[in-house]
Amino acid sequence: MAEAQSALWGLVEEFVTGQQDSAAAEVATGVKDGAFTVLQVVESLGSCLANPEPRSRGRGVQLLSQVLLQCYSRLTEKEVEVLVVFYENRLKDHHVITPHVLQGLKALSMSEVFPLGLAVSVLKSIFQEVHVQSLMQLDRHTVYLIITNFMKNREDELKSLGADFTFGFIQVMDGEKDPRNLLVAFRIVHDIIIKNYALGPFVEELFEVVSCYFPIDFNPPSNDPHGITREDLIMSLRAVLAATPRFAEFLLPLLIEKMDSDVQSAKLDSLHTLKAACAVYGQKELKEYLPGLWASIRKEVFQTASEKVETEGLAALQALSACLSCSVLGSDSEDLLEGFLNNVLQDCRHHLCEPDMKLVWPSAKLLQAAASASSRACLKVSASVLPLLLEQYNQHGQSSHRRTILEMTLGFLKLQSKWLFDEDGDSLQSFREPLCSMVFSAVTDPSAQLHLVAVKAMTVLSTDQGFLSAEDIDLVADHLTRLILEEADPQSCQAAIEASGSLAKIHPAVFISRMVPQLCSRLQAVSMEGVEPASSGVPEHSIWLRCLEALAAMSTHHSIVEETVPILLGHLKRAQKDGQTNAEDIVAVCKSLHHVAVQCQENAKSLCFYHKTVVPCLLSLTVQAAMQDRETAVESHVLLNDSVLNAMVPIISAATTHLNPELASSSVSQVVNLFLDGEVSVLTENNFTAKFLPFQTDGPSAPQSRLVALLMAFVCSLPRNVEIPHLSRLLQHLLSLSLSGSSPFTYSSSAKCFAGLINKCPPGDLLDDVLQSASCKIELGLADEHTRTQALTLLVWVTKALILRYHPLNGQLTKKMISLLCDRDLGPLAADMFSLLVSECPDILNKACHAAIRIMFRQRFFTENVPKLVEGFNSANEDNKPNYLKALSHVLNCLPKQVLVTELPSLFSLLLEALSCSDRVVQLSTLTCLEPLLLDAADILNSHIDTLIRKLLNLTCSPSMVVRISALKCMLALTKLPLPMLLPHKQQVIRALAKPLDDKKRLVRKEAVEARCQWFLIGSSGS
């Protein structure tokens, strides 16, 4: 014990007279370990605390405070009490001691056993003895923290001080300038208000002491280590200013004044603050200032200085209107909303009628903002504005004016559908008649520019069930049909198709009876009779395409799906029979079917119908086509065309991914039986003379094996919990077909199907065996002259399937891929295949078809394989180097930017090399990879900038248009780099970029202009 005592004496001595700061930490450790108590520390400090020299006393207090900061949680209540009294007393001491005293008080204020009543006395002493604003920043911060701690733990005691606390704090923070302290101080004021501390007579003083910072004008130094942004300060000050209605009488005049300021940020901040304040104010607070606020907002919106100010002005107006709408009306108080809206209407209405239409848009926007706040506001504004707009529409003859009026009307209609249709359907019934006649006249107007808006207006009007009469809805459907079949303006037609999609869901019966038959008969007329004289100037074929698109778009309701799917399938059936239709048209039909499938995914009933109808039908049609071929075999049937089968894949896939488990498992066994055993019962038409044998690769059944693509679409899209029957046999068949298949379509579909299945196959013996035999066969295939390409294709897909699920074998296979890069024949192909490995595949092995994908697989692939690629590049001979570069740039292109930036230093010289590689694919993918990185890579670029600029400028004359465009985009991106790096090159670049200005392609010239003009602006203060 005595030993510890003397050790303590030694440490204290060292700290106080020896000025060794480290001693404090040792003492603190001692206290924490229990070697000595706080009391002992105080005792050992005794003499020095009584020292006549203030610096020595300060040193003593400092030691004690530092110990307390470490050990405040171990103090007993009694100890805290003694220490507080001691410290409080020290506040009266010499000013050099004050900072240490505050530190000690901060430590004590965190203690949980802080005795009752002492918080008040500590604060009183601080308020009385310390002139806070003459302290250093850190010590002021300490004072704020002490207050914050007490407010957290001793709220009731502080409240007993009444308004004195508030007043004390006002004095503490008055004149604060440091942003770090302001953040804390603002939070304290916010708490004072929110937690209902007494403000007494000091409301205005409290407001003054914070509002003097409004609007915040603070720009952090660029190397600011504290990370305080202007935004932080603005937000916390705004929270204070808008915290209480009691500030209203001071805040609102201030806001009006600042809105009229010339500084845009001040305007914005005022509008934001007004919006925030409206959330807590009632009409009592706003009443007096409404005319002033309205005048300021109106001025801002009418004289739009910037879009931002306009948007915020409108938002503030909406907030004002909402605030007035929400206030509870007493029986005697007047309705301020009424008066306010009258004011707004009075100032805006007449602009809507002026013939030159100069201020129509700002006025309409103001009115709409005011109306959008509540149903009451909406009703009042609409009731006044709609008759006016209807009248104006009839008065103006010019279609551009009519269009503007219609657009404004549409804005008001949208508001109404938000507020009024639900609650109070009748209130607008009086306008139904004239609104309909206006919209219908617009949609039949000779000028196409009205149609688009009219379609939108019709959609809004018919969206609500009860508003339009049944006859009107019929008319809407007729108009839409007419637009789809006759409209010359593609945008309006597109809008009509979209409108049909959203309205068909609400009024399915109307669309089935009025639109479907018309589209259907048009579809058949065209396809049967070929070209027929077009009545509307639109080519028949594009009308045919529109019908397909419209049928798909409107299939948003189960009853419509049941109508449209047979129509679309009917087209495919006819194509199968005559075999004459061209492939492009069939692909268009397939696209529509796919669109329908995607829309059905949300509705289990529709999806079930769709799956049961479409999947067997497609299989049946293609199997028939393939079997027909057996006999005729002159030329492949159009349904077996690559593009047609590729278009069918997404249909089957979309019809399968969201299937319920029961239907999926019954369906899967039928389909697998069809392919494995030629079991044709699933097909709708199944009287064949021969057997369907898709996996038999020799001779006549070659066309049949193309249908493996459809098998892939089905089995690779099933949810992972659906068991696939005969999986092992199926995999073996796929494996051999993918190596022996003769056409690229067949063997790659088969390889993809194999990969899709093993990606989802659960770990176990089956998977191990299959992979074992696959890698053997790949090795053999690569060795055989005739099957090398097939083997490589299979290798790529299997590797991809395993990379995605982190299967241990993936490393070995990837190594194989890398080693093939220096193969004389397969090298270039293998390099291209690297893009398959890392990019997302649209038909299989993606999230939508439930593939097993581990997160960050790309990053993992990158870290494991890029060093190998780099090494391979360095050791490869000149002929093979491009292959490595191409593989590398494919990998880099798929990586997230953040990963690339960190790796850039090691790769940059390689990328530069890739830019001078003669292969266009390498050039292009390197450029696309570089462009987003240039901004973040200033340091690395610094030493390479000469070379980079030279190479980029060379590429601006490349024979390939896309390369020229990308190179110019990079030249533009360079202008964001630090000025000193660019200036030496400015003149050279400007001269060199003159050449692409005369490029023969417009898209290239556009990029050249942008880049060159930006280089001109470099170093000019105007930019």
Binding site: K1001, S1020, G1022
Partner: protein, 185 residues
């Protein structure tokens, strides 16, 4: 900031005539008061649709009226935060381009007949076209006939190669022009 603080500084090599020219420019570029505080605002046209022909490597796209209009429509007005297109100062129908003969002609319409910014606007259009078009082009920028009080003086100034070059030697003028030509944030 625009006019009042400018001090004409010429390098010694500049002749007296050069100094004259500059003074003339600066006088024409005019005062800093906002003259037309509340102009009519017109709709911006959308971006040009990219056609299949644009994407065909082999075909040669001629420089046409719309392409020239696209170059100048986004130039900022010196006194409003709006583009020349939004103020209807430039319109597609007043732009003529002839690729074969390497000739471009642009008419611009000041918002009001006494607009003192007319010269600066013209100069900005001219500079933008000089920077964006191949050197073979002859660029003619002038005021729409009958829309400005000192139409001839402005046109003469803009048509004179030497004077335009002299104007761009002046750092103040260049800065103002660059402001008009920089992309809006």
């Amino acid at each position: 900031m625009r006019r009042s603080t400018v001090v004409i500084t010429c390098p010694e090599v500049c002749s007296y005539v050069f100094r004259e020219v500059l003074t003339l420019w600066l006088e024409m570029v005019g005062s800093s008061q906002l003259e037309n505080a509340n102009p009519l605002i017109y709709q911006r046209s959308g971006d040009r649709q990219v056609t299949a022909q644009d994407e065909d490597e082999e075909l040669h796209d001629r420089i046409d009226d719309r392409e020239i209009f696209d170059l100048i429509r986004s130039i900022n007005d010196p006194e409003h935060p709006l583009s020349l297109e939004e103020l209807n100062v430039v319109e597609e129908i007043r732009v003529k381009a002839n690729d074969e003969e390497s000739f471009v002609s642009v008419e611009f319409t000041p918002t009001i007949p006494h607009c003192s910014m007319a010269t600066l606007i013209g100069l900005s259009i001219k500079v933008k076209l000089l920077r964006s078009l191949p050197e073979r082009f002859k660029v003619d920028v002038h005021i729409t006939p009958g829309t400005h009080a000192s139409e001839h003086a402005v046109n003469k100034q803009l048509a004179d190669k030497e004077r335009v070059a002299a104007a761009l030697e002046n750092s103040h003028l260049l800065e103002v022009v660059n402001q008009c030509l920089s992309a809006r944030s």
